[in-house]
Amino acid sequence: MAKVIDITAQTDPNVHGGHMAQYDPDGIILHHTGSSDEYGDAYWLSHYHSNPVSTNQMIQRDGTIVQIVPNNVVAWHAGTSCLNGRYDCNGWCIGLEICNNGQGEKFTDAQYQTVAETIAYNCALFEIQDKDISSHARVAACAGRHDKYDPYGWDWKRMWQRVDEIRADWPWPIPVWYDSTSGSRIMSTE
């Protein structure tokens, strides 16, 4: 399983909103960071500055997940956006920033593996549907903005193949299901 480094306790509360409106996320949006410095990215996405921006998870080149904002808290990653008729994707989608310079750098094998794992896991945990997983480029274009192109060069077919493989051979011994109505965690051994 992917390694997670949780820095949410250190993230500036001024770079994210409160809990998502429906408590759980309903979608996932993929981005690239557009940078080659991962520590700089970690700082930029977790601290307030003149261009406030944040994300829920950042995927480093070695496949490590840096958890910057909890997955059910609004992070600022998508801006003006729309997916399947729902606007303001920040309010209901997990943001995944994949470390990549955005100028033709190849995404690493470890990044494909980790992104597939976190998608499979969060879809199971929050009952997110595959149709609600998309790119920043697409959700921005759906809202009439055509200046976004990330994640540039991402191989979606490869990602979905890996997600399918993980789902077919579910790796977690005790799948965890989250009941959004009662607010309780349901542990299943099936």
Partner: protein, 81 residues
């Protein structure tokens, strides 16, 4: 939407790498180094209130109830004597 708002909106979504200084990189490295490490799926850390706290509260309540029951039993035994 005014020009200033448009500009802010355009800026809001990009990691402006060119504005990241050496100091920022060091701060970022320190933040990552100081993070809590776990495996995906082992500690979601996400629903902090209801999900993470509830079992702990339940366990504490159960423990308190058990202690109270034991104390009452002990008292009853003493009274019988």
């Amino acid at each position: 939407m005014g020009d200033k708002e448009k500009e802010a909106e355009a800026k809001t979504e990009d990691v402006a790498a060119e504005e990241v200084t050496e100091e920022h990189k060091v701060a970022g490295e320190e933040a990552v180094a100081g993070g809590q490490v776990y495996e995906l799926g082992m500690d979601e850390g996400v629903p902090p209130d209801a999900v993470m706290d509830e079992p702990a509260e339940e366990a504490a309540a159960e423990e308190a109830a058990a202690e109270e029951a034991a104390a009452e039993e002990e008292k009853a035994e003493e009274e019988e004597k």
